[in-house]
């Protein structure tokens, strides 16, 4: 197959992936300020799109991690895998993403991307093609550590925000001001999303250019690549915005303005610092960590371990599953031009099929729309009434236990007396 044609195909697919990423993720950032009425939906969506665009231009550290780190470089040919393999890997990621979206499984589009690439590289060029050290230290470990850092941060920030605004002598704390703060914090989340997620696509396109010999290994990301990815994610964000407007008011977790502000600030700082150090994160996972952490920071919160466990399992599953799909696609691609056509057609057919299916019964997918919102369900925040009822029930149980113990002792004493 013509080299330039496959390169163009990969770039188009990568930009499509970028677009869906913006479409799927970024709307999450603006959901809370819209829900609390701090900003109108139209303005919020436009703001998120612009900030994603700006964010994509801020840094290229994450792109470098992907283009020059994860896949080992061959000293003679540049990169161990060809553009056809990258195409297969991308297809694997796209198919896996659409599949999880359809089934309503918690997933991470970023991990699907890495999984697909790694799977394709292993099938295409053997196990030596992947630099496991970089994969571990820049992708896998950050995936565990960053949500944890963000969660702890959100927990502490929520406690701090409530402590500072608490008023003595029963005056109202007037925490409504946090609503406007949420416009600010949500904007930062959108910005950080641009710095991390748009860069993943830049990395893939640069990797393709290096692999096909159109760019020297180790050289910086081309400006047109940065610009194309920035516009793709911004466009995705803008077109994806209608969805949050539709789902507004239904199913949003109970997030108070002060808590939301703390969570978003934690998310934004964790992602921005990580992007700066070249960690390729899943922004959804970090945001979920923050939402759970900030929920725990509120009075009377308890974790629903079942829900939390299900989400974690979904995350764990994503990378290897996408790797298998990517590997399979790479294996078919090995057949040459016919293979590439088969993979492209299979990808297109599955995209169409999933789109048609999702049109048929859109209601079952409303719940799967926002992964972050799903993770909010992992924390159960009891109302004052429920807290009181729970304390009462606990006290009752304690009394009952004491009474039972006393009765048992009495019975034993009687036994002793009788004996």
């Amino acid at each position: 197959m013509d080299l330039t044609l496959i390169v163009v195909l990969v770039i188009a697919l990568a930009l499509f992936f970028d677009f869906t990423n913006g479409f799927h993720d970024t709307a999450n950032a603006m959901a809370t300020p819209i829900a609390t009425g701090a900003i109108s939906p139209k303005k919020a969506v436009a703001l998120a799109a612009i900030l994603n665009l700006v964010g994509a231009f801020l840094s290229t550290e994450v792109a470098k991690t992907i283009s020059g780190g994860i896949i080992n470089e061959d000293p003679t040919t540049g990169v161990a895998i060809g553009p056809a393999m990258i195409f297969a890997g991308l297809m694997g990621a796209v198919i896996w993403n659409l599949l999880t979206w359809l089934l309503g499984l918690p997933s991470s589009s970023s991990h699907a991307l890495f999984g697909g690439l790694v799977g394709a590289a292993i099938v295409g060029a053997g196990f030596g093609a992947v630099n496991y050290g970089v994969l571990l230290s820049k992708v896998l470990l950050p995936a565990i550590v960053a949500p944890l850092i963000a969660g702890i941060s959100a927990y502490l920030c929520t406690k701090l925000a409530y402590a500072i605004t608490k008023r003595q002598s029963g005056t109202s704390p007037k925490r409504g001001g946090f609503r406007y703060g949420q416009i600010f914090s949500s904007s930062l989340v959108a910005l950080s999303h641009g710095t991390n997620d748009a860069q993943k696509t830049m990395g893939v396109i640069t990797l393709t250019l290096v692999a096909s010999g159109l760019q020297d290994a180790g050289t910086p990301v081309h400006f047109w690549v940065v610009a194309a990815c920035a516009f793709a994610i911004a466009l995705g964000t803008y077109t994806g915005g209608w969805r949050i407007i539709q789902t507004m008011g239904s199913g949003l977790t109970d997030v108070k303005p002060a808590q939301g502000f703390a969570a978003e600030m934690s998310t934004a700082s964790a992602i921005l610092t990580s992007s700066h150090l070249g960690f390729a994160l899943s922004t959804t996972q970090v945001a979920s960590g923050s939402v759970i952490g900030s929920g725990l920071g509120r009075k009377g919160a308890e974790v629903r371990w079942g829900t939390a466990g299900r989400i974690a399992l979904g995350w764990l599953f994503t990378l290897p599953a996408a790797a298998i799909v990517g590997g399979l696609a790479a294996w078919i691609t090995h057949a040459g031009t016919v293979g590439v056509i088969i993979v492209a057609v299979a990808g297109l057919v599955s995209m169409l099929a999933i789109w048609v299916l999702s049109r048929k019964n859109p209601h079952t997918h409303e719940t799967a729309m926002s992964d972050i919102d799903n993770s909010g369900a992992a924390v159960n925040i009891l109302s004052k009434k429920e807290r009181r009822a729970k304390a009462k029930a606990e006290a009752k149980a304690k009394q009952a236990a004491l009474r039972a113990k006393a009765e048992r002792e009495e019975a034993e004493e009687e036994k002793v007396d009788k004996a």
């Binding site: 801020l58 050290g133 500072i164 001001g177 934690s266 964790a270 700066h276």
Partner: protein
């Protein structure tokens, strides 16, 4: 092989930045609430609140300057 200091940096910077910003903003919200109390000095409390909000913005702006290589070179003189 694994750069543990990088994780430490992410943790410390995230916690410090988020806590500082949240503390400043919360202080601002509190001062606005105090300004509405009976007999409170409205002007002083309100300007204190806006100073807090400005501080928030400054911390964020500083963070962005640190992240963007061109800006940190132009403003702080480090690359």
């Amino acid at each position: 092989m694994i750069d543990w200091t990088a994780f430490l940096i992410v943790a410390v910077v995230t916690w410090a930045a988020a806590l500082l910003i949240v503390a400043a903003y919360s202080m601002g919200v509190r001062l606005l609430a105090v300004a509405k109390d009976k007999g409170a000095n409205v002007g002083l409390n309100k300007s204190g609140a806006y100073a807090c909000f400005t501080l928030c913005g400054l911390i964020v702006a500083f963070g962005v300057v640190l992240i963007v290589p061109q800006l940190s070179e132009a403003i702080l003189g480090i690359s």
